[in-house]
Amino acid sequence: MHEALRHLGLTWFLGAVYLRRLMEYRADFLIGTVSFFVAVSVQALTISMVFRQVPVVQGWRYEEVLFLLGFSLIPRGLDHLFTDNLWELGRKFVQRGEFFKYLIRPVDPLFYLISERFFYPEGLGQLLAGISITGYAAMMLDLHLSVPKLAAAAGLVICGAMIYMAIKLVFASLAFWTVVSLPAMAAVYELSSFVKYPLDIYSGAVRLLLTWVIPFAFTAYVPVTYLLFDRTDLIFWTPLVAVISLAIALTIWRKGLAVYEATGS
C-alpha cells in the first residue's frame, strides 16, 4: 500500500516535470499535436467522400463512422501519452545492455521504464485530435449523453488505454527473450488501425481476432456501439478484458524480468 502511494506521488511529480519539459520544447509539442490533427483530418475527409456516394455503410451513417474514428484515437492517445517508452524496450534497451539501469533504483522497474516518457507530445496530440473529432461528430449527431453514460464513457476510455498498454507490454517484454521485439510489436500495434472503422465491414475471422485474441475491438467498437446504439451485448466484458489483459501482460513482464536478471546482465 505504501509502495503504491509512493509511486502515485512520483507520478504526480514526474508528470509536472515532463509537462514543463513539454512547454520548453514547444515547437516539437505543437508539431506533434498538429501532425495527428492533420492525419485524422485527411481520414475524415476521405470518409466524407466515401459517404457522398452511399448514405449508409453496413448500417452506419457518416457522422457515426466519424464518431468511431475520433473515439478510437482517445484510448490510443491516452496510452501513447504515458507508455511510449515501451517501444524502446522492444527496440534497443536489451540489445544495447541499457536496461539494467531500470533495476538498480528503489522504484518499480516498469514504473521507471514508462515514466521516462510521461506526457509524450505525440500522445497529447493524438488525444486532442481524437477528442475534437469525437466532439464534432457528437455535435453533428446531436448526441446527448446522460451523466451515467458519460461516466461510463470515461471508464471505457480508461479500459481501452489499459488494453493498449497490456498489448504493448506483452510484445515489448518478448525482448527479454528475443533481444529485439520491435517488428512483432509494430505489426500487432498496427492491427489496431482496423478498429477505426466499424467492425461489421470485416470478415468473421478478423472480427474474432480483434475481439478475443488481440482485443482492440473493446477499445473502440464496443464502447461506441454502446454509446450510439445502446448495444450492451459485450459492454460488460470491457473492464473484464482490460483487467485480464493487463494481468497477463504483467505476468509475462515479470517472467521476462526474471529471465533477464538470471542471465546476469
Binding site: A27, D28, L30, I31, V34, S35, V38, A39, S41, V42, Q43, L45, T46, M49, V50, R52, Q53, V54, V56, V57, Q58, V180, L182, P183, A186, A187, E190, L191, S193, F194, Y197, D200, I201, Y202, S203, V206
Partner: protein, 269 residues
C-alpha cells in the same frame, strides 16, 4: 554523361549496403502495408454492397481493389527519403563536401536514394503482392498496359524526387523540416490518390486535385495500369502532364538549390 553515370553508380553502391541492414524496417512496412490494404478493401466491399450502382465515381469493385493494391505499391517506389538526406547534409555541414565533388549534388542524391526505392519494391512490394494477389485471387490488370505503366511510374519517381529534394532544401532556412514534412505527407497522401481515387473529388477539392502536381504521382500511373483512359490520345496527354510537371519541378528544385547554395557562400560555408 557516361562519367556522370559511373560516378552516380558509386553513390548507388554506397547506400546499397546501408539499406540492406534495415531488414526490420522493411518487415514492419510490409505488415503495415498489408493491414492498410485489408482495411481499405473491406471498407470498399461494404460500400459497394450498400450501393445501388455497381460503379462508383467510374470504378467497379474489382477496379477499386486493383487500384488500392496498385496505389500502395506505387507509394513504396516514391519513398526516397531524399528530404532526410538533404536536410541531414545541411545540418551536419556535409553539404560543403558534397558540393565540392565532381558530380552534381542533385544527381548524387538521386543515385543515393535509388537503393531504397528498389529495396522497398523487393522487400516490401513483393511480399505484399505475394500475400494479396496469390491467396485472394485478386483481379489482375491487363498485361498490355504494363509498358506504359512502367514509363508513367518512372516519371512519378522523378517527380517525387524533385518534391522531396525541395523539402530537404528547406533545412537551409528552418531548424527542422519535421513540421513541413508532416504537412507535405498529408497533402500528398490525399491529392496523389492514395487515400481515395481522385475521381471521387468534386467541387473545390476536385479543382485543386486537377491543378496540383500530386495526381501525377499515383493517380495517373494507377489509371494507366487499369486502362482507365479514353484512347491513345488520352494516355499521351496523361504522360505529357507528367513530363511537364517533372520538368517544372526539377527546374524549381534547381532554382531553390541555387538560392540555398548562394546563401551558403555568403555565410562563408
Amino acid at each position: 554523361m557516361i562519367g556522370t553515370l559511373r560516378r552516380g553508380w558509386a553513390f548507388f553502391q554506397a547506400n546499397l549496403q546501408t539499406v540492406a541492414t534495415y531488414r526490420m524496417n522493411f518487415l514492419m512496412m510490409a505488415a503495415a502495408g498489408l493491414i492498410a490494404i485489408a482495411i481499405q478493401v473491406s471498407l470498399w466491399r461494404a460500400v459497394f454492397a450498400g450501393s445501388p450502382s455497381p460503379v462508383l465515381a467510374g470504378f467497379t469493385l474489382d477496379e477499386m481493389t486493383t487500384y488500392i493494391l496498385t496505389a500502395s505499391l506505387i507509394a513504396l517506389l516514391l519513398n526516397h527519403r531524399v528530404e532526410h538526406e538533404v536536410a541531414a547534409d545541411i545540418m551536419r555541414g556535409d553539404i560543403v563536401t558534397a558540393m565540392v565533388r565532381p558530380i552534381d549534388y542533385q544527381v548524387q542524391k538521386f543515385f543515393f536514394g535509388l537503393p531504397l526505392v528498389l529495396a522497398n519494391l523487393a522487400f516490401v512490394g513483393v511480399p505484399i503482392i505475394a500475400l494479396t494477389v496469390l491467396p485472394f485471387d485478386m483481379p489482375l490488370p491487363p498485361a498490355r498496359n504494363v509498358p506504359l505503366f512502367l514509363v508513367s511510374v518512372s516519371l512519378s519517381i522523378g517527380i517525387a524526387f524533385a518534391i522531396d529534394f525541395m523539402i530537404g532544401c528547406a533545412a537551409f532556412w528552418t531548424a527542422s523540416i519535421w513540421g513541413l514534412q508532416v504537412c507535405k505527407s498529408a497533402i500528398v497522401f490525399l491529392f496523389s490518390g492514395q487515400a481515395i481515387p481522385l475521381s471521387f473529388f468534386d467541387g473545390l477539392l476536385g479543382a485543386l486535385a486537377q491543378a496540383l502536381p500530386f495526381r501525377s504521382l499515383v493517380y495517373i500511373p494507377a489509371c494507366i495500369l487499369l486502362g482507365k483512359y479514353g484512347g491513345a490520345a488520352d494516355v499521351t496527354w496523361l504522360l505529357a502532364q507528367q513530363c511537364a510537371w517533372l520538368l517544372v519541378l526539377l527546374l524549381l528544385s534547381r532554382v531553390l538549390w541555387r538560392a540555398a547554395a548562394m546563401r551558403l557562400e555568403v555565410q562563408g560555408g
